[in-house]
Amino acid sequence: MPANAFNAHTDYGIGIGLRVPHYAHILEKKPCVDWFEIISENFMVDGGRPLQVLDRILEQYRVVQHGVSLYFGSADKPDRAHLRRLKALVKRTKTPWLSDHLCWGSVDGTYTHDLLPMPYTFAAAKRTAGKIRMVRDYLEIPICVENVSSYAEFHASEMTEWEFLTEVVERADCGILLDVNNIYVSSKNHDFDPYAYVDGIPHRRVGQMHIAGHTKFEKYILDTHDHPVLDPVWRLYAHATRRCGVTATLLEWDDRIPSFQEVHDEALKANVFIDGAKAARTPGTGAAAAVR
């Protein structure tokens, strides 16, 4: 399933996040990269260097927008002024799909600037799905929602996280940005089987995947995006790729960012697992058993 309605039937391959420390390298050396993911909010400005750099990147590369402030799960109504700004950026980048998180983070106009986990209730799923539909209709592009990593679970929850994700995306008829690292981090923090998570979601809706590094502490794991991808995450990615098909994949590296080449090389390791998944799904090659 290299392409589906939720990534606008594109086949984007392996991308990396566009980050400030790499601007000079990218603009001067023009390295060969399948695509860049941008954080929408970094470019929802009125002018100046951010937009100048973006325009130069757009001349050379495919760009997909990833957001951190739509807060689909916030009980507030969407902010129309915010959506207008976002739509202007969508027109500028021509992003084939847009992703943001299945979380909440603002209330009554106060922003936490965090991706806070939802209470997995039917009421929350219904409201969240309604908001996603509204945003999609306004922006007129496919939306993929990303599962977040979390450090807390709520008594209110009436279902598992993956059941909640499924409930939301089926109600909203939207795609999933499956963050494999987030699944792994949350599985360790909340003691669930990450493979059950991957197996339990509607695979046909997965339009993109994220991989990243994390940091282990004594009592929990933090989603720090400041390391290479760890082996258990690669194994889970391999499993997800077998389940969902080869999907546009993005490496996130947001802190203690090394050289462009190091980040890109890390991202390209995904090819090993993509090739494995392709072989497993090719008739006559013998389906490889899931290896954990």
Partner: protein, 298 residues
């Protein structure tokens, strides 16, 4: 709504109450030792509040889990405040700067989707609550205004530049020129441009010196940048070719630009320069400003 009802999050109203309660808990200032405060606003133990919403596991209590988010909120915003205000930090010193940051962020939580706007109310806060910066409040206000102007110059809107041909035939008494939104005019009591440049140079040197083995660069890098003495400075903080610049202005030139910015017609703006400003001098200012692309349609 009762906390127990909010904690169920099983209706739209309860979901809103759930999120309001948790948001209030997350943005609550940390207690000493970067710990979540011991009591909730109604006096009940914080353990009880956290346990109403959050499940514990065999490694973390409900309060431990809440504390992770409480800390992350504060660390994230304090980092941003720190990065946006290097001059203010150098002026106040680390301890006092952090107390100021905590007080400001507690009084003005973020109201924007982007952290770029985090310090938009800082100047007003410093004026309203001088105790955080005393006895250097006037200087701190100047530094804060200067640092915010840099944010505006970095990514503020650039409108199409107005060409002389567009207004050549309009009478100066009715001509109103707009100033580019990314240009900020500052009439300051202290030469904070020199001060902040010196701070940035020192900080850059600190970074360079971080792996040095000799004591020389470290000694230079750890020098305190002296506080500027009072002295009026008029500045335009702007950008050119996507780089930031601080241009000093003669007070008379500042008055002309400020009048234009505030909507005065050209004749009245030029009159604001005063009788001592010679016509060829004023003409020279305008030639420079036009070249810098500072004027746009109103």
């Amino acid at each position: 709504m009762k906390l127990s009802t909010a904690a169920r999050a099983d209706t739209p109203r309860a979901l809103l109450a759930f999120q309001r309660a948790l948001k209030d808990a997350l943005i609550r200032p940390l207690a000493p030792g970067d710990r979540t405060q011991r009591h909730w606003t109604d006096g009940r133990p914080m353990t009880e509040f956290a346990a109403a919403f959050i499940k514990p596991n065999d490694r973390l209590t409900a309060l431990d889990r809440l504390q992770i988010y409480n800390r992350m909120y504060w660390f994230r915003l304090l980092d941003c405040f720190h990065d946006d205000n290097p001059g203010l930090r150098a002026l106040l010193g680390g301890w006092k700067f952090t107390r100021l940051a905590e007080a400001y962020l507690a009084r003005h939580p973020s109201r924007s989707f982007t952290l770029r706007n985090l310090c938009v109310r800082l100047e007003g806060f410093l004026r309203a609550e001088p105790r955080w910066t005393a006895p250097h409040t006037a200087l701190a206000v100047d530094v804060a205004r200067f640092e915010w102007a840099q944010t505006v110059a970095f990514d503020g809107e650039a409108r199409p530049v107005i060409a002389p041909a567009e207004f050549a035939h309009r009478p100066p008494s009715r001509l109103r020129l707009g100033l580019q939104p990314y240009v900020t005019l500052l009439d300051l009591k202290y030469p904070v441009d020199d001060f902040v440049i010196a701070v940035k140079r020192r900080d850059a040197l600190r970074t360079e010196a971080s792996n040095a083995t000799t004591s020389g660069p470290r000694a230079v890098a750890s020098k305190r940048v002296p506080r500027p003495r009072p002295g009026r400075v008029c500045l335009a903080v702007h950008r050119m070719d996507h780089r930031l610049y601080y241009k000093r202005l003669e007070p008379a030139a500042y008055r002309v630009l400020a009048a234009l910015r505030d909507g005065a017609p050209l004749t009245r703006a030029i009159a604001a320069a005063g009788a001592s400003a010679k016509p060829d001098r004023v003409q020279g200012w305008f030639a420079t400003w036009m070249e810098l692309g500072w004027f746009c349609r109103r």
